[in-house]
């Protein structure tokens, strides 16, 4: 089998690329010994396929130990790889509240802006809301990188190991920094520097990075006796300096051998130079809002202050570069290493290019040392293009594609990259950021498209995400929140979703009905109850079935099942088994409730009860009540015809009451009429004969006739 995967046992499939030569075949282990006769393939939960394999019926049934078939689940795509399914669900759960809150604020704001005729709902509060939303989501994607500072700082550990960063969080932070933070972003370059410091390790997998260089050097560091003799030491420091990891560079400089006490005296000038560079690095002016704890550099919030400090700092570097001390420095590596670091700080384009590995690193170094005043996406975009040319890579990381899309100010590309790289969750939630503040993007995303069935791109992506949620048994309850934010198609899809849910278990059924109640979908909820009723009825849980049909006020089905119930009533309603019926009859409850044909059961129960009392000898009220019940039973249309004769036969004792006739003339006439009707009905072919003695009809007729005569005499 060409191209068969070696890990076929895991059942993971890879996407079929169009350029692949022919289809790739993956063997599927179903574990059946006998030959397969039939295959059935259907969707299972989420992204899984359910493949049912049926074995051909084996010839000798005697030793049929093997199962007749197996069901195999095949997971398609194999998930994100970085984030497990269960983790995705946690993100899914957590993002519900921020999303719902933002939607309700949006609705309130649009209501308000309509009233005050204010064209833009984006006031100062709105930016705060968006930022709050973005921070909430960001918090879900992983904790803020908090490298737990060890109590004893290991001087040899250059790189701190924090929480493993994820591309998803990196992507969200990018979006947040470009879209959610106020657009007046003179601090954006520095934000990007921080971003790269946090997520540089993500690119190490496919490509060498400054981070991977540092990690490698860290490993070697243990074995190095004289660190400054190793050219790698200087190379790594230049690289780290180029991307602005000042604290790491200063820490590494202090590992320089000239700091050791025994050498300090004869390497005084050398040590002075190292320290001078270290001080210069730690004094680097940076235009940013606030400094992270432990980071080096001097912060400036306003541009004029920064420019002044920047010029001064550059002058100091120049002065050091041209100083005479370099000739007194005996150690060649130190001399060259330090001077190349100075070149990095002076913004020598060639130095920056050799010091960095990845184009984004080069990009950052340009922002830091050549164009610290870069403002506006357009100039950033052209810079990025230049860097890509210098450091071309074969395959671009999904984050890189996203950055290019953002810098290129192309909302559609950003959306496409979000969707391709990070899935429907990302798109559905990132839309909130993308639509904020940019009228163009908002118009693009809210415009209704005829080819999408009249919905907007925003709605489309929300619907896609809702579909993903709907396909999993643990997340479908969240889907309504996203569906209801879709104006055009949302409600219809919500109705379909709710109607599709299984009804087997009460807990799920109630959760489903609860959602119907929240969104006032009474029709759907009564449909669900009908389905549940019929399901329970079919599975022998008659009480549950009747309850749900009653809840759904489904007279039609109640009447139908009543007919079936009566079959068993006729046979089993003896005094012993009556206790079983008692509960059901109670459930049927009062007349006000929909009971359909089951109303008969209640009256029949009353009749049986009083008849029992008559037989027990309690005659006073019992006879009267029994007659009442009998007449009422015979009068109501819900009493099935086949019960007429058994009822009359049961009440022979009443008809033949010794002391006086219990039924008056009109009552007797009613019963006689019914008897007549019954005789006529017996001629029809579909008539079901009650299991009674053959003389039953005659004895009832005789008793009625006698009673009639006595009643007439009495009156």
């Amino acid at each position: 089998m060409p191209g068969a995967s070696s890990d076929s046992t895991s059942g993971a499939l890879v996407p079929l690329l169009p350029e692949a030569q022919g289809a790739v075949v993956y063997p599927l282990h179903h574990g059946l010994t006998s030959p397969v006769s039939r295959l059935s393939i259907s969707w299972s939960r989420g992204n899984s396929l359910r493949i049912s394999v049926f074995a051909s019926p084996s010839v000798n049934d005697s030793d049929n130990e093997d199962a007749g078939g197996k069901v195999v689940e095949v997971k398609l795509g194999g998930g994100d790889g970085e984030i497990s399914d269960a983790h995705w669900r946690r993100i899914t759960y957590g993002s519900v509240s921020p999303f719902a809150l933002l939607q309700s604020r949006k609705n309130a704001a649009s209501g308000l802006s309509k009233m005050s005729m204010n064209s833009s709902p984006y006031n100062v509060d709105w930016w705060e809301y968006i930022m709050e939303y973005s921070k909430d989501i960001s918090a879900l994607l992983g904790n803020q990188k908090s490298p737990s500072n060890p109590v004893i700082d290991d001087p040899e550990s250059v790189i701190k190991k924090g929480q493993e960063p994820t591309s998803l969080k990196a992507a969200w932070e990018l979006l947040e920094m470009f879209y959610a933070e106020k657009p007046s972003q003179s601090w954006l370059p520095e934000r990007l520097v921080d971003w790269l410091a946090d997520y540089n390790s993500l690119f190490s997998g496919t490509h060498p990075t400054v981070h991977s260089k540092l990690i490698d050097f860290q490993k070697e560091l243990v074995n190095l006796q004289v660190v400054e003799d190793d050219p790698k030491y200087w190379e790594v420091m230049s690289s780290a300096l180029a991307v602005g990891w000042l604290d790491i560079v200063v820490k590494m400089l202090r590992l320089h051998g000239s700091y050791q006490l025994d050498q300090l005296s004869n390497r005084e000038t050398e040590n002075g130079l190292v320290e001078a560079v270290a001080v210069l690095i730690s004094k680097m002016p940076r235009m940013r809002l606030e400094q992270k704890a432990g980071n080096l550099g001097e912060c400036f919030k306003a541009k004029p202050d920064f420019v002044k400090a920047w010029e001064k700092w550059r002058a100091q570097i120049n002065k050091l570069d041209s100083s005479a001390f370099w000739f007194q420095c005996a150690h060649q590596q130190t001399r060259e290493g330090l001077r190349s670091m100075l070149q990095v700080m002076l913004g020598n384009a060639n130095s920056l290019c050799t010091a960095t590995c990845h184009w984004i690193e080069l990009f950052i170094s340009h922002l830091l040392y050549i164009r610290p005043f870069t403002v506006g996406l357009e100039s950033m975009y052209s810079l990025a293009q230049k860097c890509i040319q210098l450091k071309s890579v074969a395959s671009a990381h999904r984050l890189m594609r996203l950055i290019i899309g953002i810098l290129g100010e192309n909302t559609e590309v950003v959306l496409a990259e979000c969707s391709k790289g990070f899935g429907p969750w990302m798109v559905a939630h990132a839309l909130e950021l993308l639509t904020t503040g940019s009228d163009l993007a908002e118009m693009l995303l809210h415009e209704e498209h005829q080819n999408l069935g009249g919905i907007s791109i925003e709605e489309l992506h929300r619907l896609v995400y809702a579909e993903v949620l709907s396909s999993h048994p643990l997340t479908w309850q969240i889907a309504p929140i996203y569906l209801t934010s879709c104006v055009k198609q949302g409600m219809v899809l919500l109705q379909i979703l709710l109607s599709k849910q299984p009804v087997q278990h009460n807990q799920l059924l109630f959760k489903n009905i609860e959602i119907c109640r929240l969104y006032e979908l009474d029709g759907i909820s009564s449909n669900i109850m009908k389905i549940a009723g019929v399901y329970h009825w079919k599975h022998g849980r008659k009480g549950s079935g009747v309850f749900w049909l009653q809840q759904a006020r489904d007279e039609y089905r109640l009447n139908r099942i009543a007919q079936q119930l009566f079959d068993s009533v006729g046979k089993t309603i003896s005094d012993e088994s009556f206790k079983q019926w008692e509960g059901l009859i109670q459930l049927l409850g009062s007349e006000s409730k929909a009971a359909g044909g089951l109303e008969f059961l209640q009256k029949y129960r009353d009749f049986k009860k009083s008849l029992q009392q008559v037989h027990d000898g309690k005659t006073a009220d019992a006879t009267h009540q029994a007659v009442e019940s009998l007449i009422s039973l015979m009068k109501t249309p819900s009493t099935p015809q086949r019960f007429w004769l058994p009822l009359l036969y049961d009440s022979l004792k009443l008809l033949n009451w010794k002391d006086r006739p219990l039924l008056n003339v009109s009552q007797t006439n009613l019963l006689l009429n019914k008897l007549q009707e019954l005789s006529m009905a017996r001629l029809r072919p579909d008539f079901i004969e009650a299991e009674l003695p053959s003389q039953a009809l005659n004895s009832v007729r005789l008793a009625l006739a006698t009673n009639l005569g006595r009643a007439i005499l009495e009156e």
């Binding site: 269960a86 009480g543 109670q586 409850g589 409730k593």
Partner: protein, 361 residues
Amino acid sequence: MAISAPQNPSQVHRFPQFKYIDAVRWLPPVSAFDRFAAIAFFDSDSNSPSIEIHCVNSNLQSSFPTLTSQSSWAPPSRISSLKTAHSTPQPVIAAATFSGSLHILASDLINGGMIESGGTLSELGFHSGPVAAVDLREGGTECVSVGEDGRINLVSFVGDSSNLSYRRIFDANGLVGYTAVKWASPSEFVTGGYGFGLQWWDQRRPGGPVSQFKGNWCQGKTSGIVHSIDIHPSRKHTCLAGGSSGTVFAWDLRAQQQPIVLAGAGTGEAAMSLLSESEVWEVQYDRYTRSSNISNISSTRILPVMICSEDGILAVVEQGEEPIELLADPCAINSFDINQQNPSDVICSLEWESIAILTRS
């Protein structure tokens, strides 16, 4: 309706899991700092259910307790009902499944909390369809199980609980379904079901329920199902039930057909506190009385009740008083359990695959 906040805010700790939680129960403690809980999980990725013993370790140094799994046991199907009981030497766990089987487990909490499977009842005649609810008798020698199939079984286990036998108390042949059950005394128990109906059973008077509470008291209004029942050991004549549409009511056997409605629909009174309109999944008497002793409360008054609901509310309801909300979550709270030994501790299972532990101060 304003819902008053608790005077003393309680500490809530959430423990996100990567599995759905079907049920949670406390187990009796073995030391001052360790509390144990039995949790029924369902891993939807691998489609496998499990019952695990978890240790809740409240470290004195950090205010954040930890939840660590001690041992795990795999039932044949998802757990529909889980109950625990004090028993010597080991606590007993009764677990009923959706496939209609019942499992009695024992856990040696002192030596690592290993779960030992005591006995299993899974024969065809036991229940048809899922077991809706079980309850263990105090002391853990008998267990009553009910189902929507209308069967009520009494499971007795002797000695090391490996020997299970059951007796059919009643079979309604599906004409009536039972969804909740609770022991009232060694020989009496109460079942609940559709239409808010309750039935009182006495083993000494077999053949049918001794007393029935007609479900149709909320006439004309939507009816529902009883999801959970509780009976206070000192008030055996009152049976507490919670169910659909936020309904919490008590049935006093001495006032046969008049329910005492604590919360929810069907009351017709606008003044009645409407805590929640959705399903009340579980009710338990809240033994955490702050100042007043139980004996001071008149016997006609219903003791404080804790409820959890589909709309994510965990609250304490007291007759004639405003409910006190302990938790309000964006997702459903499916079950909870109050620690019998230390009633300030409450453990809850949340719909979004997490567990919350509440410590009231």
